[in-house]
Symmetry: C2
Subunit: 104 residues, 2 copies
DNA sequence: ATAGCGTACAACCATATGGTTGTACATCAA
DNA sequence: TTGATGTACAACCATATGGTTGTACGCTAT
């Protein structure tokens, strides 16, 4: 999970990820749209790959980057779990206050 | 957003955050439960604070750390947005396949 | 065969991160 | 007042990160 959130903690990588979810893209076509060097983009893709947020599929001489939704879902589930902890607390507060059914 | 995901990209910090959502805790009571030094925990809290995932409320000589749910929600919303992009693509595929209403 | 494209990877650099220890200071209790 | 507690912060260190350039190598097209 550390790897997943670390991978998402960069604007360029979130942008790459977003572009790649909808449709697979080659590394070079990704790289074309950023100011930085090709190698830098390659590294960003590599970070996403190690976090299992994307996978690469070789196609001829090109390497197509695809988004991996299941990892994204695991991260989203974790954030949801945090929120549920808070809901649990709110419920407890409501119980203490003798209120029913309406959470703030 | 970079700050938020970076803050969440550490097991200790996620643990701190989780413990603090349900109930506010002083920095020292947080620090008691980790092997590392007090200063290290202080730094972790500071990272969470800069990301606006927690706030500190002074109470006497203690500083109570509270979770900030709204920032959590912003992060969760971003992940949901990614997922919706994928759903959009799935819908398109479904359209292409002539299927209706059932996404895989 | 050969030239160009797409990719991989190593070496290098500056800065950020995660940890430490030490010091300082305000607050609560005796 | 004095001492212990809770916090803040600076200095320092090792390692990770995000960028660069350069080199190598497999594919594609001519």
């Amino acid at each position: 999970m550390d790897l997943v959130f670390r991978a998402l903690a960069d604007t360029t990588r979130r942008d790459i990820f977003q572009r790649v979810i909808g449709d697979g893209l080659s590394v070079s076509s990704l790289a074309d749209d950023y100011e930085m060097s090709f190698a830098a983009v390659q590294k960003h893709v590599s970070v996403l790959e190690r976090a299992a947020l994307v996978t690469k599929e070789r196609h001829g001489r090109e390497q197509i980057v695809h988004g991996n939704l299941s990892t994204l879902r695991r991260a989203a589930a974790l954030l949801d779990a945090f929120e549920e902890i808070w809901i649990g607390r709110a419920t407890k507060i409501a119980e203490i206050l003798g209120e029913k059914g309406s959470a703030t």
